[in-house]
């Protein structure tokens, strides 16, 4: 990957307008349009940023480099994503190093995913749909509409508000950074790698239902053996194995197919 990319056109101008931010916010609705297991939201993420990137990077090589970096794996909450978009566009505008921008993306996507789940799926949705459904269940036709109005009022306030907030946060942050981008890149990478470690332990569900019967005693392999060695042992090992295979230049697609086969065979043998 291109680390320490030097921009062909290092000039930094303030080209992003409020209108651009709004345009990108609308495009953020398509974050998951090309969702897949290899890059997750990367395609839609790039789709959302394109109007901004196009305006910022007048040099073709700079734009190409930036677009390639934004095609890398990305996954966060589909509402709160605009906050990261705002920060990233501010950094792109100031022509920060791609390594630094990537580190910021990775450091923020995990926590925002968790916060978004709590706000949107566990609070907003149950409240709005609870109100709507309680009316509809009595045959009241206003129910479904009340649900949509409550839900989307907050949905769009979050989306547009966070884009603007993210951008202004990003602008003031990169101004303060000045010459210290290297140190900042290191700091962001530390947070990023800490978050990746946390993601491995929380977002991969892999366990075994195997019960070993030894001398009349039933031993649950997952709870009584594996978890005793280390909780989340299997997710950690699986990620490490995937990492090793990627370093041996296996294509992610091979790894995805391998995972599908493992899932099916594992279920057939009732070990997964």
């Amino acid at each position: 990957m291109e680390s320490n990319y030097t921009y062909k056109d290092p000039s930094t101008n303030n080209v992003i307008t409020k209108k651009d931010l709004n345009k990108m916010t609308w495009r953020s609705l398509f974050l998951q349009a090309s969702f897949n297991y290899e890059r997750m939201q990367a395609g839609g993420w790039l789709y959302g940023l394109l109007p901004g990137l196009k305006k910022i990077h007048k040099n073709k090589e700079d734009l190409s480099n930036s677009m390639n970096m934004h095609m890398e794996f990305f996954n966060t909450h589909p509402f709160l994503v605009t906050f990261i978009m705002g920060i990233v566009i501010a950094m792109e505008e100031r022509k920060e190093e791609p390594d630094t921008i990537r580190a910021v993306k990775v450091a923020t996507m995990g926590p925002l995913g968790g916060i978004g789940d709590a706000i949107c799926w566990l609070t907003l949705l149950p409240i709005a749909s609870g109100i709507g459904a309680s009316m509809a269940i009595k045959g009241n036709i206003a129910g479904p509409f009340i649900f949509l109005i409550i839900f989307n009022a907050i949905h769009f306030v979050l989306r547009f508000g966070l884009m603007n907030y993210g951008y202004s946060t990003g602008v003031s942050a990169v101004k303060q950074l000045g010459e210290q981008t290297k140190a900042f890149s290191r700091a962001a990478s530390i947070v990023g790698l800490t978050v990746v470690g946390a993601l491995v332990a929380s977002y991969i569900s892999l366990g075994t239902p195997v019960v070993i019967t030894a001398g009349g005693a039933d031993i649950k392999l997952q709870a009584e053996v594996l978890d005793q060695i280390m909780p989340k042992l299997l997710p950690a090992l699986y990620t490490f194995w995937m990492y090793k295979l990627l370093k041996k230049d296996y294509s992610p697609i091979v790894l995805i197919l391998l995972t599908v086969v493992i899932g099916i065979v594992g279920r057939l043998l009732t070990i997964l």
């Binding site: 969702f35 009241n140 949905h155 140190a183 991969i204 569900s205 995937m242 594992g266």
Partner: protein
């Protein structure tokens, strides 16, 4: 019936896109139930069944990326069955849920099959082909639309009994296996991130993040804040030591 089935298929396609894109939440059963009721000419049953299914799917949200039984198909097909078979909404639920689980398995396959397209996207990105990137995203949504439209059309057109027997014939190992694979899949994305970002000097932080969740079950935000605390400490202690010139980073280029 063909016309009505086609209308339901059209609506399912739109709702299927909304589940992932737009997210106006017109795909929730409380709303789709009403639309299906409107199409099939029994608004009241549509509203009531939709609301019943809504409550069932209330906790079934895509937490931490794990996909619950498909809410779009569950809501639409469940409501359609309730109206067409004149069953109690609760019976419709019994048919809708296993059907929705099977559909979610098929979606795992779509997300797998779409992965190779990303390499085409890399090529477009390299050539700054903005239209190409946009086309790939529109293609993704078109595939979802067609998939949902077909999946909703078949059971409504051929009837609840036919749908039930098809679902019953699907082997558990296939649907269950796809579900297991879907749960493991994020590991590949994390491994790709590690391939790009990992350096030996950062190993400590990777371990810290893992341990905080695996052993201490901290939420991600808590872990991120601790990571931030470490990086602030690191930043300022380097500043004091180096006084302006930062210590040389060990760039182990195993990346």
């Amino acid at each position: 019936m063909l016309g009505k089935s086609l209308l339901i298929a059209l609506w399912a396609g739109i709702a299927g896109i909304d589940l992932f894109n737009g997210l106006f939440h017109i795909h929730r059963p409380v709303f789709t139930g009403m639309i299906v009721g409107l199409i099939l000419g029994d608004m009241k049953t549509g509203l009531i069944t939709g609301a019943t299914l809504e409550l069932i799917w209330m906790g079934a949200v895509p937490l931490a990326g794990a996909q619950p039984p498909n809410v779009v198909i569950g809501g639409i097909v469940g409501t359609a069955f309730a109206i067409l078979t004149k069953q109690d909404p609760k019976v419709a639920v019994g048919i809708a849920v296993p059907f929705a689980v099977a559909v979610q398995g098929a979606i795992t396959l779509i997300f797998t099959a779409f992965s190779p397209v990303m390499h085409k996207a890399d090529e477009y990105a390299k050539n700054t082909d903005i239209k190409g990137i946009e086309r790939i995203n529109y293609l993704g949504m078109l595939i979802l639309f067609i998939f949902y439209a077909i999946i909703a059309f078949l059971p409504v057109y051929f009837g609840a009994e036919a749908a039930e027997s098809v679902v019953a014939k699907m082997p558990e190992w296939l649907i269950g296996g796809l579900e297991v694979a879907g749960g493991i899949m994020p590991a590949i994305g994390f491994a790709m991130l590690l391939k790009i970002m990992y350096k030996k000097e950062y190993m400590a932080f990777l371990i810290i993040g893992f341990v905080l969740v695996a052993y201490f079950e901290l939420p991600i935000l808590g872990v991120a804040l601790l990571g931030l605390a470490i990086s602030l400490y690191d930043y300022y202690s380097n500043k004091i030591k180096g006084k302006g010139s930062h210590r040389k980073e060990a760039r182990t280029n195993g990346i």
